[in-house]
Structure formats: structure tokens, C-alpha cells
């Protein structure tokens, strides 16, 4: 019991240390990167302002002091839950983000779940037909599809399904006036999700196939068959359960991979999510917004990595048994 608490505290410390380091890097990098925050605050007017006006505006926005002072001020405010305002939207950052977060979670979550299930099923299918025609066809097409760039695939799908056939919407999260209509939202999700799933599933299906083959070539499969089990039952009761934990931890670690995919897809489909927001804020130097988006993404990455690691540590019966010290 005590060790569990120690374990949790350790992990929590690592987590906060990670976030802290990340915040410094993002803060400094955003200051170094080109882009004028005044443009996002004042829009076109910024270009007509005189030098003294600009200086006054900077002072008002607290951008005149050195990066270190700015950072310390930011940390102080953030600790009290105040992440500042977005220069572009002239609203609290938390408010701007909360409107978009749901959209991204929806897109990312559905895609992630589909990739997760599809990869397992296809990997299983390939392992079942090891090196025979179905496996070979799927391996080739899988590699091919995963090599198509996401933005290009998105454009082709938009062209075919939205422009030519007109069966699906080609962008946005919902039609104007239909923001509460779940069906309408789902229709808008079909193409972005399709792109994400197509460009990601093979990255996971192929390792699943190989992990399963490693299992089916193991001697214990022969033992199970010698008992009189059918190949299907051996696969279902021995091989798949054996790879599931490592598969889950593997998928947990790959959350950032799919997350980065959603950002690209959002930009192409002009889907109002965190991805488009991150892109804009970085481009126009909307510092406060950028910070929070980066920290959110960072949190997701660190958390998923830590989850994967924790699962890995927990599943291995050899490790946990050794800790308990039971050996005959």
C-alpha cells in the first residue's frame, strides 16, 4: 500500500517536472520565433501605428519587459488559474480553448478508437493468413495507404465526396445553425476521421501482425494444439490475450502520433479544433493562447507515455512476481 503511494507521488513529480520544462521551452521559443503579437491584437491597424504607439501598446500588453520577467509573471498568474487573454479573440484563453477542445477530442477520440480496433482486427487477419495471399495483399496495400500524405488524401476525399458526389460536407464541424444536431456533426466527422484512420491504421496493424506471429511461432502454441485445441481457439485464448497488454501500452504511447495527425487534418478541413487554433496562434504570436495549447498537448503526450510505461511495468508477471519475491 505504502509503495503504491510512493509510486504515485514519484510519477506525479515526474509529470510536473515535465510540464515545467516544457512551459519554459515553449515560452522562450515563442518569443524567439518571428511574428508580431500586436498584429493579432490590433489586426490591420498595427501596421499604421507609429513607433511610440507600438511601444505604448506593448507596455499595455506587458510585452516590454525581458523574457524572464514575463515568464515569472506568467507562471504567477497561471498558478492562480489565470492564463491571460488571447490577443486575437480578446477573450480569456480558457474560454477560447474550451469551445474548441470538445471538437478535437471528438475527432481524435473517434479516430483513435477506430484505429485501435481496426489495427487489432487486421493484424489478427494477417497473422491468421501468414504469408499467404490475403496477408500479402493487405501488407502491400497497408504500406501503400500509410505512405499517402494526410493533406493530399484529405484533398482527394474532399474532391470526390464533397465536390463531385456531394454526399458529404467538405469542411467545418457543423452546418450553420445546426450546432446542437448530433447527426449533422457526425456527417462532418466522416471525412476527417476517414483520413486519420486510413493514414494511421497500418502503423499499428503491422506491429500487431508481427507480435501475433511471434506468439504463433512459440512452442506453447504447439502444446496447446497437442491438447486438442483448434488453431482459432489457440489464437483467441492464448496468443491475443498475450499481446493485448503490450498492444495497449503501445497504443497509449502513440496518442501523440494520432494527435499530431488531427492537427493537420483540422487545418485542411478547416475544422474548428485545437489544431487550427494552434496553427493560427503560432503564426500571429498569440502567446498566451499558444502556451496553453502547447501545454495541453504536452500534458496529453506526457500522460499517454506515462500510462504506457505504467502498463508495461504492471503487466509483466515476471517483474511483479520478482518484486513479491515468490520463486520456487
Amino acid at each position: 500500500m505504502k509503495s503504491a503511494v510512493v509510486y504515485a507521488v514519484k510519477k506525479l513529480l515526474i509529470f510536473f517536472a515535465g510540464i515545467f520544462v516544457l512551459s519554459i521551452i515553449v515560452f522562450v521559443m515563442s518569443r524567439i520565433a518571428p511574428g508580431d503579437p500586436l498584429v493579432s491584437y490590433y489586426g490591420d491597424r498595427a501596421e499604421k501605428m507609429s513607433a511610440s504607439e507600438k511601444a505604448a501598446a506593448r507596455e499595455r500588453l506587458g510585452l516590454d519587459s525581458s523574457v524572464y520577467i514575463q515568464y515569472i509573471r506568467w507562471v504567477g498568474n497561471a498558478a492562480r488559474g489565470n492564463f491571460g487573454i488571447s490577443y486575437k479573440y480578446r477573450q480569456d484563453v480558457s474560454e477560447v480553448i474550451s469551445r474548441r477542445l470538445g471538437n478535437t477530442l471528438m475527432l481524435g477520440g473517434i479516430s483513435f478508437a477506430l484505429v485501435f480496433i481496426l489495427a487489432l482486427l487486421l493484424g489478427w487477419f494477417c497473422a491468421r493468413f501468414e504469408d499467404r495471399l490475403p496477408d500479402r495483399i493487405l501488407c502491400k496495400t497497408g504500406t501503400f495507404v500509410s505512405c499517402i500524405p494526410e493533406f493530399w488524401l484529405s484533398l482527394v476525399l474532399i474532391f470526390v465526396f464533397a465536390v463531385t458526389l456531394g454526399v458529404l460536407p467538405g469542411g467545418g464541424a457543423y452546418d450553420p445553425g445546426h450546432s446542437g444536431d448530433a447527426l449533422n456533426r457526425l456527417r462532418h466527422l466522416v471525412l476527417p476521421v476517414a483520413v486519420l484512420v486510413m493514414s494511421h491504421f497500418w502503423y499499428y496493424a503491422y506491429p500487431v501482425r508481427n507480435m501475433l506471429l511471434e506468439q504463433t511461432h512459440a512452442d506453447y502454441v504447439l502444446t496447446a494444439k497437442a491438447k486438442g485445441m483448434s488453431s482459432g481457439a489457440v489464437m483467441l485464448k492464448h496468443c491475443i490475450p498475450n499481446i493485448i497488454p503490450s498492444y495497449i501500452s503501445f497504443m497509449a504511447v502513440s496518442v501523440p502520433h494520432i494527435l499530431s495527425g488531427t492537427y493537420i487534418v483540422e487545418a485542411v478541413f478547416s475544422y474548428p479544433g485545437l489544431g487550427t487554433l494552434a496553427y493560427e496562434s503560432a503564426r500571429y504570436g498569440d502567446y498566451n493562447l499558444l502556451m496553453v495549447i502547447c501545454l495541453l498537448t504536452g500534458t496529453a503526450v506526457i500522460l499517454s507515455n506515462m500510462t504506457g510505461q505504467a502498463i508495461m511495468e504492471k503487466i509483466n508477471p515476471a517483474i511483479s512476481a520478482q518484486k513479491r519475491g515468490e520463486n520456487l
Binding site: 497437442a226 491438447k227 486438442g228 492464448h238 520456487l328
Partner: protein, 566 residues
């Protein structure tokens, strides 16, 4: 009597990159109810393939080319996989060679045996399946079945795992049990117990058993009939007694007589080369547990002597070897090599050159102790380069060639990589590497355990030759007592980190004093089928011996750990 299993002219071929390769050729065998048929032969002769063809569990690249397998009156050669499923377990069951990989590492032992039970009797309620599993575990002489039930394969010892695998094969009450090397890779005492168990089970259940082994000694005490295989063919087949008494085929003869014979062991000079004094080494697992791998061990090795160290796996033999070679720093005690204390940093530094070149080690697993990306020539010459020894024969290449010739390999091998060599050839390269700097002391850590009997004999002969010609001293570590008996002058028996007995080999085998030594010696398989060593082998199952006491000299050169009665 009805034949339970009949194999007629069976041929099996494997598709390889180089075309078809025959692995089984024209095999004819019969198995009658209630008999034990042993199949012996060197590794790679197709014994396992034969079992897998009977079970129809061949890899996909292997095909039955011709012949038929008739089990219980039915020709099963053309059976579909589905039809075979109903036969596996019900009629035929099999245990596989390596019990660790033959069990699913992620499921408890009880669960896996339970699976076999429920496959055999579908619809049996869970509680009864469990009861049956416990019963099976008891029948293979596991004394704490309830505990073992919930354990995972990795936390069981090799012997326990083998018992569980046998229990699994018994679960479905098959008529024929195919046991593929059930006793290989186990300690001799455990091996004897497993053989006893198989014999008992076979008698009780009146099963037919096909026992596959590379060691004739293993099968001699059990088998009614023996078939000898060589390169996929059965070269000799008959009643055990006849075959062992009058082997006809050269392959059988070499199998039965694989031990090198050299009755005369040359004399040794009295000079002490290596002295180990009160050596103790601990492994710290974590704050709470410390394992004492080597506990207060003292012995000495004279110049030109082959000193044997025997004991079951995990008794500290390898740790001791590594301490001698400065791989581990001992926790306490002294190791003196020619009077130099090798554990002392200052002493070591001032005598670095002699300590590093004159002591060499040969590791157990030759495939992992050689760098796979290096060529044999470089592997052999590397120690010389590192020690800055200029090649006496002109170039390092010539030097490597000479060493290869020495261990019986020709110069073609210079350009090969370890992966292209067989186990025996690799071990020879490892020996050549150790010899290249002309050492005086060779520590050989189980150099033979991964090799075939014929190759073992070659290597042992090589060792003996090296000793006679060049006056090397050896510390020869082995769990194979017969090798130690043939090769060594003196031997020490280790048990749980303690040296329990130390004596000249002849004295040790004729007059073992410590109970553990006695058990160890009585568990060595006897190749005489008439011998009843298996029945005589201590059935009480005594697994622990006293490790407390004082190491006392009872007669000249014969030391034993004596219990102190207070």
C-alpha cells in the same frame, strides 16, 4: 497384440531456400499398447520431426511426401486439421522439449492444465476442473498442488515445469504419450526423478510412451524397445537389451560409446597455481534480500591439473568462475594466482599483464559469447592485439590459423562469422580465442553442456591433449558427472554455494561421503539396461541437505563438510 501406432515408410521433406530437403526418410515403426519405445539419435537427426509428424503439428514448410501413419487402426495420414484435433489429446498427446517455452508465460499453470481437462470433457463445471487439475498435479508428485496451481511457468524450477507439462499431457487420458527429450537440460538429480516419474506413470496407466532422447543412458532403464535414428532414417530397431549389448550399426556404437576413453591420467607436479581461500560472494537483489551465491569456498589448483567443479544449476559454480576471472569482485575471501592476490587492486595493477593473459575463460553459451559481426580470424586474434603481443608467426592471421588448426578446424573457417558455424564449431572458436594468448589457467564454464555427445567427446579429447602437450591447468565446471570422472584429477562438489566435498576423482566416485554427493552420483544414468539404477535411485525425494558444518579432511586429500553435533 494390436498395434496402437504404426508408421509405414514415412518420408517428410522441408521446403528451404535451396530446394527440398528430406528430414525423414522411409521411417517404419510400431508402438504396442503399454510399451515404451525409445527413439535415440544425435540432435538434428529428425527425432522431434518424427513426433511432430505423428501429431501432425509440422511447420507449414514441411510436407509428408509418402508413407502412412496408422493410429488405433485408422489411417490418419490424410486427416484434416479438424479431424486431427479430436485425436490430439484423446489418442495422442505430446510433451515438448523445452518446458519453459512449451508453456504460455502469461497464464497460470493451473489454467493451462485446466484447459486440457475441459477440452477433454467439455461442460465440466469449473470447480471439478480445478479438482481434476489438483489431482493431476498430485499424480506427477507435486507436493503442494494448491500453490503450484496459481503459479506462472517462470517462477517454477525446470523440474517442476516438466512435471506440469507431463500433467498436461496426462489430462486427456491419451493412449500414446510422445515425450520429446523430457529430461534434457535438467540437473542430473532432477532428471532421474523425472524418469522415475515417467516410468511410474507408464506402469500405472499402462500407456504407450514414445520417449525421445539423445542420451542412451536416459532410455536404458525405461525403454522396452529402442529405435536409433541417423539423418532421418531408422538405422537400428530392436529390444533394448539386444541393442545395448550388441550394437550393430556404427551410429549406435558411437552413441553408446560416446565417452572418450583415456584410462591413464598423467601425473601432476605439486606446484600450486591457483588458490581460493574462504571465498564468499553475495548478490544484492534489493534492500531486503541478499543471495549468497558462493559461501566460504576454499580450494587450490595445481599446475597441469584439471580441477572439476560439479553441482546443480544455481549452486554458484559460474559465480565462482567469474570471481576467479575478476569479473565479479568477491565480497570476502582471497584468490591467489601464483601468489598474486587478484582481488587486491594494487596487486592487480602491478601484475596486470600476466593476470590478463595467463588466465582465460570459456563461457557456457558460445553463441552469445562471440561477437556475431566479427569474423573468426578477428575473434581469435583480438586478445593478442589487446594485450599487445606481437604475433610469433608473422601476422595475426597466421596466428589465428594456427590456433584454429590446433582446435581441429581448417583455415576455411577464418572468414566465417559465428552465425555460420554449428554449436561445436563455435565452441572450438571460443577455445581457440582463449588459447591465442597462451594462458596457463583455463576456466571452462560448462563448455560442453550445449553440445552433442560426439562433439563433447572431441572437445574433451582436445582439453586432455592441451593439458598433456602444453601443461595447461583447467578449472572445469560441469553438471555432467561422467565427464568430470573421465577428465578431471580432482573434483569439488558444490551445493547451495558451499563446497561440500573435495577429493581426487576416483576417491570421490568410489567413496562419496556427503549425502548430496551420494545422491548426485546415484543419479547418473547407467547405459546398461539391466542395471536398476533408476529403481535404486533414492525415492525419498530428499531435496535439501545440510550446508552447515566444518570442512574437514577425512583422508589424504579428501575433504568433506561435516555436520557439527553440539
Amino acid at each position: 497384440m494390436n498395434k496402437l501406432l504404426e508408421i509405414k515408410n514415412l518420408s517428410v521433406a522441408i521446403d528451404t531456400h535451396y530446394g527440398k530437403k528430406d528430414v525423414l526418410r522411409d521411417i517404419c515403426l510400431e508402438v504396442y499398447p503399454g510399451e515404451v519405445l525409445a527413439v535415440i539419435g544425435e540432435s538434428g537427426c529428425g527425432k522431434t520431426m518424427l513426433c511432430k509428424s505423428i501429431m501432425r503439428l509440422l511447420p507449414r514448410s514441411a510436407k509428408i511426401v509418402s508413407g502412412s501413419i496408422i493410429a488405433d487402426g485408422e489411417d490418419i495420414t490424410g486427416y484434416s486439421d479438424r479431424k486431427m484435433q479430436s485425436l490430439r489429446g484423446r489418442l495422442l498427446s505430446m510433451t515438448f522439449q523445452d518446458s519453459l517455452s512449451a508453456l504460455n508465460p502469461a497464464l497460470s499453470v493451473g489454467h493451462q492444465i485446466g484447459e486440457a481437462v475441459s477440452l477433454h470433457r467439455p461442460g465440466l463445471p469449473k470447480a471439478q476442473v480445478r479438482e481434476r487439475v489438483i489431482e493431476l498435479l498430485e499424480s506427477v508428485e507435486i507436493h503442494n498442488p494448491e500453490q503450484v496451481y496459481i503459479m506462472y511457468p517462470h517462477s517454477l524450477s525446470g523440474g517442476m515445469r516438466q512435471r506440469c507439462v507431463i500433467a498436461m499431457a496426462l489430462a486427456s487420458e491419451a493412449k500414446i504419450l510422445l515425450a520429446d527429450e523430457p529430461a534434457t537440460a535438467l540437473d542430473v538429480t532432477v532428471q532421474a526423478r523425472i524418469l522415475q516419474l515417467l516410468k511410474k506413470i507408464q506402469k500405472e496407466r499402462d500407456m504407450a510412451v514414445v520417449l525421445v532422447s539423445h542420451d542412451p543412458g536416459v532410455v536404458a532403464g525405461i525403454a522396452h524397445r529402442v529405435a536409433v535414428m541417423q539423418e532421418g532414417r531408422i538405422v537400428e530397431n530392436g529390444i533394448t537389451k539386444d541393442i545395448f549389448a550388441v550394437p550393430r550399426h556404427p551410429c549406435t556404437k558411437s552413441l553408446l560409446k560416446n565417452k572418450p576413453d583415456f584410462s591413464k591420467k598423467s601425473e601432476i607436479s605439486g606446484e600450486t597455481l591457483l588458490e581460493v581461500k574462504n571465498l564468499t560472494h553475495d548478490f544484492v537483489i534489493n534492500k531486503h534480500s541478499v543471495i549468497r551465491a558462493v559461501d566460504n569456498v576454499s580450494f587450490s589448483v595445481r599446475k597441469g591439473e584439471i580441477f572439476g567443479l560439479v553441482g546443480e544449476s544455481g549452486c554458484g559454480k559460474s559465480t565462482l568462475a567469474r570471481c576467479i576471472m575478476n569479473i565479479y569482485k568477491p565480497y570476502a575471501g582471497e584468490i591467489l594466482y601464483k601468489g598474486i592476490n587478484v582481488c587486491d587492486k594494487a596487486d592487480f595493477r602491478s601484475n596486470r599483464k600476466i593476470l590478463q593473459t595467463k588466465r582465460q575463460i570459456i563461457f557456457q553459451d558460445s553463441s552469445s559469447s562471440l561477437n556475431h559481426s566479427m569474423r573468426v580470424a578477428d575473434i581469435i586474434a583480438e586478445p593478442m592485439r589487446l594485450c599487445g603481443i606481437s604475433p610469433k608467426r608473422g601476422t595475426y592471421l597466421k596466428e589465428a590459423e594456427f590456433q584454429l588448426y590446433h582446435v581441429g578446424l581448417n583455415s576455411d573457417f577464418l572468414w566465417k562469422k559465428p552465425a555460420e558455424l554449428s554449436g561445436g564449431q563455435r565452441q572450438r572458436v571460443a577455445i581457440a580465442r582463449a588459447l591465442s594468448v597462451e594462458p596457463e589457467l583455463l576456466v571452462a564454464d560448462e563448455p560442453l553442456s550445449s553440445l552433442d555427445a560426439a562433439v563433447q567427446a572431441q572437445i574433451v579429447n582436445l582439453f586432455n591433449h592441451l593439458r598433456d602437450e602444453h601443461g595447461f591447468s583447467f578449472v572445469f565446471i560441469s553438471h555432467d558427472l561422467s565427464m568430470v570422472k573421465y577428465l578431471c584429477h580432482r573434483a569439488g562438489v558444490m551445493y547451495k554455494g558451499r563446497l561440500v566435498e573435495l577429493a581426487p576423482v576416483d576417491e570421490l566416485f568410489s567413496n562419496p561421503l556427503h549425502p548430496y554427493t551420494r545422491t548426485l552420483i546415484s543419479s547418473v544414468p547407467d547405459t546398461d539396461p539391466a542395471s536398476d539404477w533408476l529403481d535404486r535411485f533414492d525415492r525419498s525425494g530428499q531435496d535439501s541437505f545440510c550446508t552447515e558444518g566444518i570442512f574437514t579432511e577425512v583422508s589424504a586429500g579428501h575433504f568433506v563438510l561435516m555436520e557439527v553435533h553440539t
